[in-house]
């Protein structure tokens, strides 16, 4: 069963536990700026939106990488950056139309969600179940894919 992150912004209280868990597990520091999930705070609407990679089928980042440093984890479907292959050219950071690949100047590599290998720390840390890791068929994935399709600059080659 393919699993994916399900994000329900209506349940998010803006506690940022997800950002802390993500940065600690992946980068060894409690530092939201190094988190691969980001909680957007819309002050004027009193609304929080946790935001991260949807592991989209188009895989803009993977397609744009000049040195084959991004690959699909066959177990989780996540698009994963290989730190040993990434040269830090940042092309994926502008190619991803969701803006979910960021450059980390302290390592000279890019950061993106890799679903923690199938056990995402953000979902475990979320106290209100705004972030859950569930059967992909149950998520808003289709809606996000519709969004992705709008940005498609051409039909994807199906293998």
């Amino acid at each position: 069963m393919m699993m994916s992150l399900h994000i329900d912004p209506a349940k998010c209280t803006g506690c940022l536990q997800c950002e802390l868990a993500c940065s600690y597990d992946n980068e060894g520091v409690f530092n939201p700026s190094k988190s691969r999930i980001k909680v957007f705070n819309f002050h004027d609407e009193g609304r929080f939106v946790p935001y991260t990679c949807t592991q989209c089928a188009e895989a803009w980042c993977l397609q744009a990488c000049p040195v084959d440093a991004i690959s699909v984890d066959l177990k989780t479907g996540a698009k994963v950056v290989s730190d040993s292959l990434c040269v830090g050219c940042k092309v994926c950071t502008i190619a991803c139309p969701f803006g979910t690949v960021n450059y980390n100047a302290s390592t000279g590599k890019v950061l993106k969600c890799d679903l923690c290998g199938g056990d995402p720390e953000c979902a475990k840390a979320c106290p209100t179940q705004a972030i859950t890791y569930v059967d992909a068929n149950w998520t808003g994935l289709e809606r996000m894919r519709t969004w992705a399709a709008k940005t498609d600059s051409g039909p994807r080659a199906t293998h």
């Binding site: 980001k38 609304r47 935001y51 000049p66 040269v87 502008i94 991803c96 139309p97 960021n102 051409g154």
Partner: protein
């Protein structure tokens, strides 16, 4: 089916893989004119800094990648196309016949018309061979003159700074990055580079290079007179490799003119990547010599070469650059329309957004690395900004928020009211 792909850069390689994915039995020949496995020119700066070895620049890392896919790699350079016979002749006399041809020959670096550019120690930084030649001379403390502060010049600048050379950058236009940045952005990047010890000489022309003492060169600039150098790097532009198509009657402008199927002759000849003048997302037909466009072109051309009907909606010009630690990016048409700017000179931060009505049409950023791709998302989805337009006019740095709000709002609202 016999497919011939001429050019083994990103467009050619992505096309070859896509062809194989769609036609298990077709014959695929991938022609490349540089020795070794296909590599990414984009990775050359990182070879120069030693961050990766030459093998780290390879487009594909798995062993026997091409052979495993049944893609025949053919060393050679295209010399002439005979459309009637559907035959491509290589410079060594080899002839390949095809049912479908992809022209993905890329571009070559060009030189300004001044004397002395054939001297030892004057190099482009375009091929792996160029990189090796530069590495030999660009040792710590060497005096280096880099001619051209456009996108490619600035990418090389980063590597030369890291190698510890004494660097002067010469640009004939009045600012660095005259095409990728506006005046405020170019000035900010120049100021940053100067603070990193780079001598930035804008509005300065290269008049010529002569042999100096020993192995050294004498570089004449206007203004500036003659200065000594151990190495001169020429990064004054590139031109599409289409000379072999002279007499083919294909439409050649800045590159091979193709339609929205990436087809050049309405039939069996396609073009992709830096040599292709294809649909521009903003209208018209342009050469967009960037990695994402090359990959998209290669994929779409291959779909159509195998009987599909994929239409390209057009490429969005965009670039991202690291000049000695200062990161900048540009997207789409930032040079026209209503604009919003936020500039912090001390912090080296700059965001400029350009609008077409209530849609984002282009942007420039300096010092912004988080969620920068959302700018592409906003431009390419032509998302109506609604109330966010006014917010962005007041504070353009909130551009990623605007994207998240426009992509997540309907769902959140629906949930909120249910």
């Amino acid at each position: 089916m016999r497919y011939v792909i001429v050019g083994a850069g990103p467009a050619g390689v992505v096309a070859a893989e896509t062809l194989r994915g769609r036609d298990a039995g077709g014959e695929i020949a991938l022609i490349g004119d540089e020795p070794g496995e296909p590599y990414a020119r984009m990775a050359i700066p990182y070879v120069l800094t030693g961050k990766i070895g030459e093998s780290g620049a390879r487009l594909r890392k798995t062993k026997d990648h091409y052979r495993a896919l049944g893609i025949r790699t053919v060393p050679g350079r295209a010399a002439r196309l005979d459309r009637g016979k559907k035959e491509l002749a290589l410079a060594d006399g080899t002839k390949l016949t095809f049912d479908s041809l992809l022209i993905a020959t890329g571009a070559h670096a060009i030189k300004p018309p001044v004397p002395g550019l054939d001297l030892p120690g004057v190099h482009h930084c375009w091929t792996m061979a160029d990189a090796r030649a530069i590495a030999k001379r660009a040792s710590k403390g060497a005096e280096v003159v880099l001619v051209g502060a456009g996108f490619i010049g600035c990418i090389i600048l980063e590597s030369l700074v890291e190698r510890g050379v004494k660097l002067s950058v010469v640009e004939s236009e009045s600012r660095m990055l005259p095409k990728m940045m506006d005046e405020a952005g170019g000035e900010m990047i120049a100021r940053w580079c100067a603070a990193k010890g780079v001598k930035v000489l804008t509005a300065t022309r290269l008049k010529g290079v002569a042999q100096g003492k020993g192995e050294r060169l004498a570089v004449t600039l206007d203004p500036g007179g003659t200065v000594p150098a151990d190495l001169v790097v020429i990064a004054t532009g590139v031109k599409a490799n289409t000379d072999f198509l002279a007499g083919s009657n294909l439409k050649l402008e800045d590159g091979v003119r193709v339609d929205d199927r990436l087809c050049a002759d309405g039939n069996s000849i396609y073009a992709a990547g830096d040599c292709a003048q294809g649909p521009d997302f903003s209208g018209g037909f342009m050469v967009h010599a960037i990695q994402p466009t090359a990959a998209e072109h290669g994929r779409i051309a291959a779909v159509n070469m195998t009987g599909g009907d994929a239409r390209y909606k057009g490429s969005l010009i965009m670039n991202v650059l690291d000049t000695a630690g200062l990161i900048s990016a540009s997207f789409g048409h930032w040079e026209r329309g209503e604009e919003a700017r936020a500039l912090d000179a001390k912090a080296f931060r700059y965001v400029k957004l350009a609008f077409d009505g209530d849609r984002l049409a282009g942007a420039l950023t300096i010092g912004l690395t988080d969620h920068v791709g959302a700018i592409r998302g906003l431009i390419q989805t032509r998302a109506a900004l609604g109330g966010w337009k006014a917010k962005l006019m007041r504070d353009p740095t909130r551009v990623a928020e605007a994207f998240v709000a426009s992509s997540c709002a309907p769902r959140a609202q629906a949930r909120g009211t249910s």
